[in-house]
Amino acid sequence: MTVPHPSAAPGPGAAAEQGGGRARRRPSRVWLGALPLLVFAGLCFGLPAGALLYGAFTRTDPVAGTTEFTGEHLSRSLQGPYLTSLTGSVQLSALTAALATVLGVLIAQAVVTSRRGALRGAVLTASGVLANFGGIPLAFAFVATLGISGVVTELGHLDALGWNLYSFTGLTVIYLYFLVPLMVLVVVPALDGLRPQWREAALSTGASTGQFWRHVGLPVLAPSLLGGFVLLFGSAFAAHATAAALVGGSVPLVTLKIADALSGNVLVGQENVALALSLDMIVIAGLVMAVYLPLQRRSSRWLR
């Protein structure tokens, strides 16, 4: 907002109505508008987060009822099957995010260089819609397509080729379905910011297309691409519903492990490990955001 704040000069009506007290009282009253939101966030977000943190670091003796601080849950969450699930999630997220970044950039470039406005509009609208397509319906759409008795599986006799949807590869194929459109949305504005004049200038001074991309295109795009990658990573990392509806427990993913531990499908007393695993996830997601936000701010320089 470049408009100067008008409250510095209250109109004659306001002055007549309420006198000078209004200008003094105003800042404190305005602040109250945000109070419900802050209270709500403290209660419904802060309280669970605090409980999570507290539970991840304490152990309550069921007999004596005493509570002591311990790093045991956290260290257990970084061992054995739990560690496998964490690395599984990180691997799946990294792989799908990398693939989606490449594919998304290819599609976005194809759209941006297209001279048909209609194509561009259609692809962007479809991307906006598909990026919101996740969770349960996505899982079932793929079960019907590539599952054991899926239409494409039977048409192409994919099971004879060793195809299995309920696996790491299968999940990769599914995750790309919502990650690629997300990448298209992220990267199209950045590609638009790549001025044709730069390419023209590079080519007319004797650079090849490859040199243009290496020395001009990619450096300009780098923050957007990295930011997009990190965003996709976070998105794939937090995904739970699709995997839960699909693979059950056959692929080790941290979200599935947490759900198992929480619903008591494993040994009793695992709740605190679930909390510790959640804390691990928050730390990783927090790192992702810490990388993403500055990058996004940096890349937005090229958008105008």
Binding site: V129, L130, N132, G135, A144, L185, P196, R199, T242, L303
Partner: protein
């Protein structure tokens, strides 16, 4: 060179406003220009195949039963299916409550941010973006822990009634609270983009000078200016709540998404059919939203375009809003 560009470029009469950023670079060698065209076609064809195949084959899967031929039983049986109406009604009422709560919380906060000290803006923004860092599954472990405190520590106090009421089977308030937390980032983004096009301090000052009360200012001056971004925030929240599975299933409730999974074992075809229908409905909503957001019908065109981009992440892609809006879909994926 610039003068050459249109001549060699557009025998097929490019519309003047269509973006054609890269073509001038390819002008010097005509052969080079033709190659990317095939490449582009190939990429878009493969992408189209990948994105259309699951939808088409889902439909084929639901209507074609091996040995019986074509049947629409999977669709006609949905309405009479056990638990369908209850779960859908539960999801819709949860969505309505979530939308109301989220808007009631965020709109006053954002208006206050525009009028108040700059520090408030940073606080509100951080509070609204924090749920992005906490995946839904982590949020639900925290909520489950808090809910266990009820029987453990408060069973003899009046507070215990609150714990029970919050977890009422017929209308679980706890889900409304959790969904509102998950929706905060979208709602904040959408409304913030809408408010960016409105000069709130001036409007408020003008209305106040004319003798309007605070409530009147918000209801009759600010909100009408935000109509399309309010619609955007509402639609996104609706889509989020309808598709939400993680929180509801782990807390043991049975709204729509959980119901789909629970019938999938016995009625595979019906679960796919319902998935397909819920997708189409969500998409229709989002498309309506992007039209409404960018169309001339919106009261404030600038606000409309901004919120449309923020909401569907699709339309006015040239604005910076889209880039900042793109992260919005993330938590909805859960």
């Amino acid at each position: 060179m610039a003068a050459l560009t249109p001549v060699s470029l557009s025998p097929d009469s490019t519309p003047p406003d269509s973006p054609s950023p890269v073509s001038p670079g390819a002008v010097p060698v005509t052969a080079r220009r033709r190659r990317p065209r095939y490449w582009r076609g190939a990429v878009l064809t493969v992408a189209g195949l990948y994105f259309l195949t699951p939808l088409i084959s889902s439909f084929v899967f639901t209507v074609h039963v091996p040995g019986q031929g074509l049947t629409f039983a999977a669709y006609s049986g949905i309405l009479s299916a056990d638990g369908f109406t209850e779960s859908l009604f539960l999801s819709l009422s949860l969505a309505a409550a979530t939308i109301a709560l989220a808007l009631l919380l965020v709109v006053p906060a954002l208006v206050a941010v525009r009028l108040g000290p700059p520090r408030l803006r940073a606080v509100v923004e951080i509070v609204c973006m924090l749920p992005l860092v906490v995946p839904p599954i982590a949020l639900v472990t925290g909520i489950a822990t808090v809910l266990r405190w009820g029987p453990d520590h408060f069973s003899r106090t009046p507070l215990y009634q609150t714990f029970l009421a919050v977890q009422n089977e017929s209308f679980p308030v706890v889900l409304v609270l959790a969904h509102t937390v998950l929706a905060l980032p979208f709602v904040h983004r959408s409304l913030d983009a809408g408010l960016r096009a409105v000069d709130v301090p001036t409007l408020v000052e003008a209305a106040r000078n004319c003798g309007a009360g605070r409530l009147y200012v918000i209801l009759r001056v600010i909100l009408p200016n935000l109509r399309s971004s309010l619609a955007g925030a509402s639609f996104l929240t609706l889509a989020l709540v309808l598709g939400e599975y993680t929180v509801a299933s782990l807390l043991g409730f049975r709204p729509f998404a959980v119901w789909i999974v629970s019938v999938s074992g016995a009625e595979a075809r019906m679960s796919v059919a319902v998935s397909l229908l819920s997708l189409l409905i969500t998409w229709a909503l989002l498309l309506v939203l992007s039209r409404a957001g960018s169309g001339p019908s919106a009261g404030a065109p600038a606000a409309g375009a901004a919120s449309g981009a923020a909401a569907s992440g699709a339309v006015a892609s040239k604005t910076a809003t889209t880039a900042s809006a793109a992260p919005a879909p993330v938590p909805g994926k859960e």
